[in-house]
């Protein structure tokens, strides 16, 4: 494998690690706001790293630009939906989880 291939592999692996972190967050975090946070931040960073990793494998400039466009679109979608869902949850009176209050879902963090 050439130097570029190694660089590509490293970015891909880092991206996969972020996805793992996002999944763990989605499964383990105590309320909808924190889980949104895990999904919107870690997964999009993971997607970014995977896109960068694949850029090193792209055949042409057009293919590379398309990959970047895919990432930007995913970012826009995540940002919008995260905002809308969090806004709606807040409106409906779902209280954010706090570490200093014995929350009803406290057992989930163990």
């Amino acid at each position: 494998m050439s130097g570029l291939d190694w660089l590509s592999a490293i970015f891909l692996l880092v991206g996969a690690a972020f996805f793992l972190a996002g999944t763990v967050g989605l499964l383990r975090f105590p309320d909808v706001y924190t889980r949104l946070h895990a999904l919107a931040k870690a997964d999009n960073l993971g997607l970014g790293c995977i896109v960068i990793g694949l850029l090193f494998q792209a055949d042409s400039l057009a293919a590379a630009l398309k990959l970047v466009l895919v990432w930007l679109l995913a970012l826009a979608a995540s940002a919008t939906v995260s905002f809308l869902v969090a806004h709606r949850a807040w409106r409906r009176g779902i209280a954010p989880w706090r570490a200093d209050e014995p929350g009803i879902r406290r057992h989930d963090e163990s």
Partner: protein, 328 residues
């Protein structure tokens, strides 16, 4: 590694479909079904069918979810009585089942046994089927030179089996007529009602819709152009166009309603009319929809352009007709 991917994906497909049908909560069922549709797109990607994956992704992500979630608001919970009395709906949705009587248990058991038997019989038939005498991929490859396009799926859709596609577009059109007939009779072109609290949060989806709708137009154009030589074509492009209309409607930028204006009605029929006109013009060849080889490429592109417009408008109309109607 491929086998691991396939088995995991198939397990997820069966699980999401099974849970969507068995879970007592209707909202959960709808979300699981949306997940199922998106998993199907991954399955098509694995099955070497990127054309279907494109269509399933566009419909699964852009239409199914919006259609079902919008309908859920009207279909869940207890039935509204004429007196206006509505039972408290603290749960998101429920079908409210009491304990069934004995004959119900028996009949349910019978239905399950029959369904399992059907599944086993189908699986057995699939495994015992003899090898086909004719290889369709080889037949298609042999005729590709005369088709006018370079992508086999487009050649099948618009040339070798063009009459199927013609009828299929007519069916799509009839479905929209049905929806308009059922959802019709309400105020024309009324803007979707936006509750006060939702207005502030509408700014963000509005911005998104203003950015994404032109991009969706671009992607639809790209898919239409791509269809001649790689996966893509009128159906995928039309589905993307329709999804853009759905997003605009959700953001309150495009009114719903069950009575389209005449320009829209003309657009709805345009693709079908172009298709019929081409079919009539090439009647002289003796076979239905047999294009002269020199013209095939141009004629297919003409039909596909018309179809993209009509399929996009029809699919969008299916959502808009239901979305604009009876918010109260």
């Amino acid at each position: 590694m491929n086998l691991a991917f396939d088995l995991l994906l198939i397990a997820a497909l069966l699980w999401s479909a099974g849970r969507a049908l068995t879970t007592p909560d209707l909202f959960r069922a709808v979300v699981l079904f949306i997940v199922f549709g998106l998993l199907m797109a991954l399955a098509w990607a694995r099955l070497d069918a990127p054309d279907i994956a494109l269509a399933e992704a566009a419909i699964g992500a852009g239409l199914t979810g919006a259609l079902l979630l919008d309908a859920l608001g009207h279909l869940r919970g207890p039935v509204r009585r004429k007196s206006g009395l509505i039972a408290p709906s603290t749960v998101m949705s429920s079908e409210g089942a009491g304990p069934p009587a004995f004959p119900t248990y028996f009949l349910n058991g019978l239905a399950i046994v029959l369904a399992v038997a059907l599944g086993l019989a189908l699986a057995g038939a699939l495994l015992l089927l003899p090898e086909p005498a004719i290889s369709l991929p080889r037949e298609v490859a042999a005729a590709m030179d005369a088709s006018g396009v370079a992508h086999p799926v487009t050649a099948v859709l618009l040339n070798f089996r063009g009459y199927d596609t013609l009828l299929e577009v007519a069916v799509l059109w009839l479905a929209l007529l049905g929806v308009l007939a059922v959802a019709g009779g309400r105020a024309p072109g009324r803007a979707p009602v936006t509750p006060r609290s939702a207005r502030a949060s509408l700014k963000v989806p509005r911005l998104l819709a203003r950015v994404l709708a032109p991009l969706a137009l671009l992607v639809a154009g790209y898919l239409l152009w791509a269809g001649a030589h790689q996966p893509g074509g009128a159906f995928q492009a039309g589905a993307v166009l329709a999804a853009a209309a759905v997003l605009l409607n959700l953001a309150g930028l495009l009114p719903g309603g069950a009575t389209p204006r005449w320009v829209l009605r003309a657009g709805l029929g345009f693709g079908l009319l172009v298709f019929l006109a081409v079919a009539a013009a090439v009647m002289g060849q003796g076979v239905l929809l047999q294009y002269p080889p020199a013209w095939a490429g141009a004629l297919i592109m003409l039909i596909e352009t018309g179809l993209t417009l009509s399929i996009g408008l029809t699919l969008a109309g299916l959502f808009l007709a239901l979305s604009g109607a009876s918010r109260q």
